[in-house]
């Protein structure tokens, strides 16, 4: 599936949830079932320090594609990072860097992209793109 196909899939999961709490329940459930980050990578080096929630993001480069792992100590930030991982994992650095993450707006999470929000979604996206840039520089140029 392309990045956009995956975004559409997530949007369709949220489409019929009109109530805010139902939307959050969906995010929380994703956070709870999130596979997380392998214990050995859950280090300060991979920590994105938001104001209140801790989020770890780790990535590996295999056969030209980037594979992410993400985890948080809060269920909501955990749900958000798991969606980002789901959408961006398994794609080339170029695909990741070219991706426009419109699902955030479409599922009503745009407010979380503001730099002042404490869950640090913006930092998560930035960090994931940084990995793509780094792998591209290291392996592809």
């Amino acid at each position: 599936m392309t990045i956009d196909e995956k975004q559409e899939e997530i949007i369709s999961e949220f489409e019929f949830l009109e109530d805010w709490l139902d939307k959050y329940q969906q995010i929380i459930d994703k956070g709870i079932s999130n596979k997380g980050v392998e214990e050995k990578y859950k280090t300060d080096e991979h920590l994105i320090e938001g104001c209140q929630s801790k989020v770890w993001v780790y990535a590996e480069y295999k056969d030209g594609k980037v594979y992410y792992q993400g985890e948080s100590n809060t269920d909501i930030a955990g749900g958000i990072v798991s969606m980002l991982v789901e959408i961006l994992s398994g794609h080339t650095p170029d695909e990741i860097l070219d991706a426009e993450l419109y699902f955030i707006d479409r599922i009503g999470l745009k407010e979380h992209l503001s730099p002042t929000r404490s869950n640090g979604m913006l930092s998560m996206v930035k960090q994931m793109r940084m990995y793509a840039v780094a792998f591209k520089t290291k392996y592809e140029e």
Binding site: W20, L21, Y24, Q25, I28, I32, C51, Q52, S53, N73, T74, D75, I76, A77, S118, N119
Partner: protein
């Protein structure tokens, strides 16, 4: 005297707002309180009708503006029972007031090796200014600990005091735990050894009557915005003898008598500590706020908020898995709590979606969180316009949110 809460609520336009289509339940009052119409009107009226820079103006508006600012100082003086209005210094808030003392008292009264005593439950703004002083003077910070209920272990104080103790700087009310500290006792103990005391009144001035002369406190600081006034204005009270003794904090206009490149002489109190154009609009709006609460009566406010605290404590402790952080028998109107393993951020986010504004996190008191071995709490803090019905909404909101997370 019974107070008319509905009448009071109608004085605060923001309380009519809907948040995500739900009526706003505002329980973040320890961070800042909402403003009554009279405070907003004062700001608007002053800018529309009475705006001119104060002091030394020959023109009518300047004199009127100066009078309003100096009257505001007298209002503050009366509000906290100070002896003279020149003991009232306008600052940007509690933080600036403490920084002023840490700097001016610190550089003039402390020598290398001296000690300052604080408590384990200080807000960062009563820790960091002293650490900045440590970059100038080789002073030591000694800390009065609290017990598992969040009660200050006052018996430790006498052990911490020694010949090198220069100042005791304590919070009156903990913003993270709600604990009311026995500052009368602390001041008596300190004065018996000739040690001055600074009280951080950010969480007490809005909630209980304060009389600095009865307390015999040497410095008392509070913020305007937490007592229904505007942001950016606060107060440092200092006994005249101390304010005379310590040097200015910042230099500029207003605070000088004569300036030459060889020598500058400083203005008298309180102007010595008010460099630059003061927030004269803010000061008059603060006075409006203080008049507003004085009219309701600070004791009435204290009694009513206590009733809210009792009600909320009863209600919240019935919730499965909820534990209160800070169980001092002497508490102000705020409750810090956790529910099961739910992260405060998660709980706060869902409560927000229900229209309930609480604060989550470490509340700028990381040493408190460390003592309880937690990352943070959810804090509901009350003000004069809150109601028991709102506490019911909070309680059912917590129960509803709790069901959404993993246990």
């Amino acid at each position: 005297m019974a107070i008319d809460i509905q009448k009071i609520r109608s004085d605060f336009p923001i309380l009519e707002r809907k948040i995500y289509n739900k009526p706003l339940v505002y329980f973040d009052n320890a961070a800042t309180t909402q403003k009554p119409q009279c405070v907003v009107n004062t700001i608007v009226n002053n800018y529309y009708n009475c705006n001119a820079n104060i002091h030394r103006g020959v023109h009518f508006l300047s004199q009127q503006s100066t009078e309003a600012h100096e009257n505001a100082r007298k209002t503050v003086q009366n509000f906290i029972g100070a002896k003279n209005s020149n003991e009232i210094i306008f600052t940007r808030g509690t933080t600036e007031a403490i920084n002023l003392v840490a700097h001016s008292f610190g550089i003039s009264q402390c020598n290398d090796g001296d000690e300052i005593i604080v408590t384990q439950m200080e807000h960062h703004s009563n820790i960091v200014p002293w650490q900045l002083l440590q970059q100038i003077k080789d002073i030591k910070l000694r800390v009065i600990p609290f017990d598992e209920k969040g009660v200050l272990q006052i018996d430790q104080l006498e052990k911490l005091i020694n010949k090198k103790t220069k100042l005791i700087a304590v919070t009156h009310v903990s913003n993270a735990l709600g604990t009311v500290n026995p500052i009368e006792k602390i001041i008596k103990i300190a004065h018996s050894q000739d040690i001055p005391v600074l009280v951080d009144g950010a969480q007490s001035a809005p909630h209980t009557p304060i009389n600095v002369q009865d307390l015999d406190v040497d410095f008392y600081a509070f913020s305007g915005h937490k007592v229904y006034g505007p942001t950016g204005i606060g107060v440092l009270y200092g006994k005249e003898k101390w304010l005379e003794k310590i040097p200015p904090y910042q230099g500029g206009g207003e605070m000088i008598q004569n300036v030459s490149f060889e020598k500058t002489t400083f203005n008298e109190l309180p102007f010595k500590f008010e460099a630059g154009t003061p927030d004269y609009i803010g000061s008059t709006a603060l006075a409006a706020a203080l008049n507003y609460v004085s009219e309701i009566g600070m004791q009435n406010i204290a009694d009513y908020e206590h009733e809210l605290l009792r009600y909320a404590t009863d209600k919240l402790t019935q919730i499965d898995g909820l534990r209160i952080i800070g169980e001092s028998p002497q508490k102000s109107g705020l409750i810090s709590f956790l529910v099961g393993q739910i992260h405060p951020y998660d709980m706060g986010t869902i409560l927000d979606k229900l229209g309930i504004a609480v604060r989550t996190g470490h509340h700028c008191a990381e040493p408190v969180m460390k003592a309880f071995n937690i990352d943070g709490t959810i804090r509901a803090s009350f003000a004069i316009y809150n109601t028991k019905e709102e506490i019911d909404i909070l309680a059912s909101g917590i129960e509803r949110a709790a069901k959404m997370f993993r246990k």
